[in-house]
């Protein structure tokens, strides 16, 4: 973990990959939208992003309840880990364990060779999102920069 970051999330997340008020009505459209935007920002293949996100999602829903989902994928030939955050305009059905649709979605794309990183990132994300204060502050953020600041400032307790 780099010294300047409090947690792995802010290490791989950038304001350009934080998108609030995205208009999508399904997970399929969500993944496609994210694939396209990541292609724009990082040059990676949108199709490969979508395919890999889906194959993980089919293993079991990445929604963890309380309106949060953590979709992730390992991508061949990906040079560096990329995180992205989406807040959809309308809550998305995501087969969550509490039955509730999802309002806060944190993505992780990981290179093939660093497995522990993915597990660590997601464990941290789950912990971070399990804090009701964090969730409230996050939902109060009105722009990507404040979302980024919030993630950057979060310290595992």
């Amino acid at each position: 973990m780099s010294e300047t970051h409090m947690n792995t999330i802010s290490e791989f997340l950038a304001p350009q990959d934080i998108w609030l008020n995205v208009q999508v009505a399904s997970i399929k459209r969500l993944f496609e939208e994210v694939g396209n935007r990541l292609h724009e920002n990082h040059g990676i293949s949108a199709r490969i992003v979508v395919e890999n996100l889906w194959s993980r999602e089919l293993l079991g829903s990445t929604a963890i309840g309380q309106g949060v989902a953590l979709p992730h994928a390992r991508i061949q030939d990906l040079e560096y880990p990329i995180a992205a955050f989406v807040r959809p305009v309308t809550p998305l059905p995501f087969d969550a364990p509490d039955g509730k649709p999802v309002t806060d979605i944190l993505f992780l794309l990981a290179p093939m060779h660093i497995a522990e990183l993915g597990v660590e990132f997601l464990a941290e994300a789950a912990r971070c999102f399990s804090d009701i204060n964090f969730r409230n502050w996050l939902r109060a953020c009105k722009d990507p920069e404040s979302v980024y600041q919030l993630f950057s400032a979060w310290k595992p307790a």
Partner: protein
């Protein structure tokens, strides 16, 4: 808990955001155990009734189970009946049972009336109706020096539930309001803990949610902080390490059994929050503690497996 004024913007946002939740829960069965302040304070009673009416209107199937402990205590006091308690349960002789049935019957009708006033078609039921709650007597093992079992009288446990009557009422969009009285094998009536009845009913119906209304913010950890989310395994740990005690125990026992037997999630919510029921169901944040079955909390295992291949 402070109440912040809600702006018009917030109100419309909440309303428009409610649609995906309504879609998620349409047709699903929620068993709601009603008690505490929500059952005694006029403003909370009204907001509860409106919440139930709204849930029913949007296609959710609410079933209400109510308690009546404080009211039973009050009547017995007026009757100069002194109750003996063993393991937190009231020894219930015939006279006491009559008082219990009277109080619960009255409360039941009051709740039915309240719900009807707010637009529901509520139907009051006792477990005796249609013989739907089969009860069995609780036998406490002897404590201390005594070698004989303690007779609690007419205190029962749920043996099994025949849900046909409830299905019938649900199918015609009625809201069943159930008082926690069951029938034994000889036709005798038993008083059963309402949290227990609610849990068993949720299991029998394979309900989507069991919601237990309490007078606390939810389940609190050892530092008094609210635990918003937990799995069945977490709850088992709490029993082992003393995080739960007192009044929370029967609720969590009921919750644990429910999620292990097919109920998708259990919510222990703060009944003192106006519209707490709606907030819990129709927004992403709740007003208490959500407990999920271990079956539905496989995210971490799936993730480990995914990254280890």
């Amino acid at each position: 808990m402070s109440l912040l004024p809600v702006s018009h913007e917030q109100k419309t946002r909440v309303l428009s955001e409610a649609l995906p939740y309504i879609q998620s829960f349409h047709g699903k069965t929620f068993v709601i155990k009603y008690g505490g302040n929500a059952m005694t304070e006029p403003a909370l009673k009204a907001s509860f009734a409106r919440d139930v009416a709204l849930l029913r209107l949007v296609g959710i199937r609410p079933i209400i189970v109510h308690g009546g402990g404080p009211q039973i205590n009050e009547l017995l006091k007026k009757m100069d009946v002194v109750s003996e308690f063993r393991n937190g349960m009231r020894v219930t002789d015939e006279q006491t049972m009559n008082a219990v049935e009277m109080v619960l019957g009255e409360l039941n009708q009051e709740i039915v009336g309240l719900l009807n006033q707010h637009g529901c078609r509520a139907v009051g039921l006792s477990g005796q109706d249609g013989h739907f709650i089969h009860a069995k007597k609780i036998h406490l093992k002897a404590d201390g020096d005594s070698h004989s079992a303690i007779d609690l009288g007419f205190v029962g446990d749920v043996d099994h539930i025949d849900s046909e009557l409830i299905h019938l009422l649900n199918s015609k969009n009625f809201v069943p309001v159930v008082m926690p009285i069951g029938v034994g094998s000889e036709g005798e009536a038993y008083n059963i803990n309402a949290d227990l009845v609610a849990g068993k009913l949720a299991e029998a119906l394979q309900g989507e949610k069991l919601i237990l209304m309490t007078n606390t913010p939810g389940v609190l950890d050892k530092n008094g902080k609210l635990i918003t989310f937990a799995t069945a395994s977490n709850v088992e740990t709490w029993f082992a390490d003393g995080t739960i005690h007192g009044g929370m125990m029967p609720k969590l026992e009921s919750a644990l059994r429910a999620v292990k037997n097919g109920v998708k999630s259990v919510h222990i919510i703060d009944g003192r929050v106006p519209n707490g029921l709606l907030l819990e169901v129709l927004t992403n944040e709740g007003v208490g503690t959500t407990i999920l079955s271990d079956l539905h909390s496989h995210f971490h295992e799936d993730t480990k497996r995914y990254f280890s291949v």
